[in-house]
Symmetry: C2
C-alpha cells in the first residue's frame, strides 16, 4: 500500500478544513419509520449536501490539500456521476480547472450537474474502456492532479466527516448509536464513517450495505482478501458499481466493520418509494440501500438506535417516476 | 368574533404541549439556492413533520386542549387532505376516534393516509355540497368536537410553533430573519407564524403566499375586509383552495403581515422540480408556493436573510412525475 491509513485526527482535521464550504446536513427522524423498525432510526441526509451527495466532502478535503503550486494544472477524476459533481463543485469553489471522465450511460442529471459546475466532461464506454486509464493519461499529459473517488486517505478522511457529524448530532439529541448502516461501493464512505465514529461511538457496529449482485465487499470481508464482482454484475444503483473494494478502504473495512449487508434492487426501489411517500426525501437508488435494509427487515433494528446514511439523491426524473409509480 | 386572538404565550404553551409528539423539523439551507437568490434562504421543512405537513401541530395542540370528558365522543374535521391527516394522526395518538369529511377528488395518498391512521372518512362533492355543513351535522349528532382547520386560536397557536422554532433555529445558527414567506389558504399557518416570530423576530416581515387565482388573502388585505375568491377559482395547489380568509386569522393577518404575494401554477411546478433536482425534498404544490416566490423573483431576497416555509409534501406520484418530468 502507498498510503498510511487515515485516523480520527485526520477526519477531525478534514471537518475543520471543509467546514466553510460543506453543508452540515441534518440528522432526521421519522415517527413512522421508528414504528416500522421498532427502534430509533436516525437518518443522516447527505442528499442535502452540496451536489446532492456526500462526495463533495471527500473532494473538497482532497482539493484543499493539493499544494498551491500544483493547483494551476487542474484536477482530473473519473466517476459515474456523484464523485464527478463533487470534484467539479469543489474545484470550482477553489478556482481549479476540473476534467471528469464519465461513462456515456451516466444518468443525465449527473452529467448535466457536472458540466454546470464548469468541468470538462470526457465520455467513455463503460463496457469496453477503462476510465482509470483515460484519466491517468490526461493527468500524465497535463500535469493535473488525480482526485481518487475513494481509495485515498484524503478522500476517506473527508467522507469520514459524515460519521463525525453523526456522532456529534446523535449525542446532542441525547442518544447513542448502536449501529450504523452505510451504502458501499468502493468503500470510501463506510470506512471513513467507521473512523469518524471511533471516538465517541467506538462501540457502534458499522455495516456496509451493497446491492445483492454487487456484493464484492461482503465477499471480500468473508474471504479476508479483495474479491471482485463478475464482469456482468449490474444493479439499478448506478452509484454503487465499483467492481472491487479499494486497497486502503479494504484495510480499514476489514478491521473496523461489523459486517456487510445486501439488498435486492426491488427492495431498494421500495425504499425510494417509502422515502417519497413518507420521509419526503428524494433518494437515488444507491442512496437508498441502507434505508432498504431496515425497511426490508434485513437488519434487526428492533430496540436499537440505528444510524442510516442517505448518501445521495441524484436521480433522473424517469427513474424516479418509475420507482414511485 | 367568538374568540380572543392567540398570543405569543399561547404559541409557547402550544410548543410545550406538542413537544412530546411533534417533530422539531430542521431548518435547511442550500448553497445553490442562496446563490440564485443572492441572499440567505432558510427553509423550514415541515415536509418532515408527522403526516408530511405542519397540520399535525395545530391538530395536536387542539386535541390536547379538549377536556377529558369530551374526548370519548371523538372529533370531527373537514379537509382537502392535510388537516385530515393531521387530525387523524393526532387523534389516534390520544386514543380519540376521528371522523373526517374529505372531497371525493382529494389526492389519493391524502385519503389513504387519513384512513391509515384509523379515521373514518366521509366523502362529499366539492362542487355541490358544503363540507362544513356535513361536519357540523355529524358533530351535532354524535357530540364529537369539531377540530377547525384554521379559524381557531388553538389551531393557530399550534401552527405558530413553526414560527417559534424558526426564530430559535435561526438565532442558534447566528442569523436574524429579515422576512419570512409562508404558504397561505385559510391563514392559520401564516398568522400563527407571525405570532411565533413576534418575540425574538418582531422586526421580520411576514408574507402570505397564495396561488395567483386564489388570492383572497391578498385582496382581503387590500380591501381591509374579508373578500372571497370567485366560485370557479382553482389551482394545482389542492391544499390552498379555502375560498376566504378566516375571521380570527384575518384579524391577525391584517395587523401582523407585511403583505401577500402570489405565484402562478407554472411557477409552483418549477419550484417543485427545483426541490426535486437540487434540494432533494418532495413538495406538494401548496407546499412549494413560498419557495416559488423566491425562485421566480417575485420576492426580492437579495442581500437578505429570508425564511421560507416548505409546508407540505403529500403529493400523488402522478402529479409529482408530471411536475419533475
Amino acid at each position: 500500500m502507498d498510503h498510511a491509513l487515515p485516523t480520527l485526527a485526520d477526519v477531525k482535521a478534514a471537518a475543520d478544513r471543509i467546514a466553510p464550504l460543506a453543508v452540515r446536513t441534518p440528522l432526521l427522524s421519522s415517527p413512522d419509520l421508528d414504528e416500522r423498525a421498532g427502534g430509533r432510526i436516525l437518518l443522516k441526509a447527505e442528499t442535502f449536501q452540496r451536489t446532492g451527495t456526500f462526495k463533495f466532502r471527500g473532494a473538497c478535503n482532497f482539493i484543499r490539500l493539493i499544494p498551491a503550486e500544483r493547483r494551476p494544472a487542474g484536477v482530473v477524476a473519473w466517476s459515474s456521476g456523484n464523485h464527478a459533481q463533487g470534484v467539479a463543485a469543489a474545484a470550482a469553489l477553489h478556482g481549479v480547472e476540473a476534467t471528469i471522465v464519465m461513462p456515456d450511460d451516466a444518468p443525465a442529471p449527473k452529467r448535466a450537474g457536472t458540466e454546470r459546475y464548469g468541468a470538462t466532461v470526457i465520455g467513455y464506454d463503460r463496457t469496453t474502456e477503462s476510465r482509470e486509464e483515460i484519466g491517468r493519461a490526461i493527468a500524465a499529459e497535463t500535469g493535473a492532479t488525480v482526485v481518487p473517488p475513494f481509495d485515498h486517505p484524503w478522500t476517506i478522511a473527508g467522507q469520514g466527516t459524515v460519521g463525525l457529524e453523526m456522532a456529534e448530532q446523535t449525542a446532542a439529541a441525547g442518544h447513542v448509536l448502536d449501529a450504523v448502516l452505510v451504502p458501499c461501493s468502493g468503500g470510501g464512505l463506510v470506512s471513513g464513517v467507521a473512523i469518524g465514529l471511533s471516538g465517541s461511538h467506538a462501540q457502534a457496529e458499522v455495516y456496509a450495505v451493497e446491492p445483492a449482485d454487487c456484493d464484492d465487499t461482503a465477499r471480500s470481508l468473508a474471504a479476508g482478501e479483495r474479491v471482485a464482482n463478475p464482469p456482468d454484475a449490474d444493479s439499478i444503483c448506478d452509484a454503487l458499481l465499483v467492481p472491487i473494494p479499494g486497497e486502503v478502504t479494504f484495510e480499514i473495512m476489514r478491521s473496523r466493520l461489523a459486517g456487510a449487508l445486501t439488498v435486492s434492487d426491488a427492495e431498494t426501489l421500495r425504499a425510494m418509494r417509502y422515502a417519497f411517500e413518507t420521509l419526503k426525501v428524494v433518494l437515488e437508488p444507491g442512496g437508498a440501500v441502507a434505508l432498504a435494509t431496515v425497511l426490508a427487515g434485513r437488519f434487526a433494528a428492533a430496540g436499537r438506535t440505528v444510524g442510516v446514511v442517505l448518501s445521495g439523491g441524484n436521480v433522473d426524473p424517469g427513474t424516479f417516476a418509475r420507482a414511485i409509480g
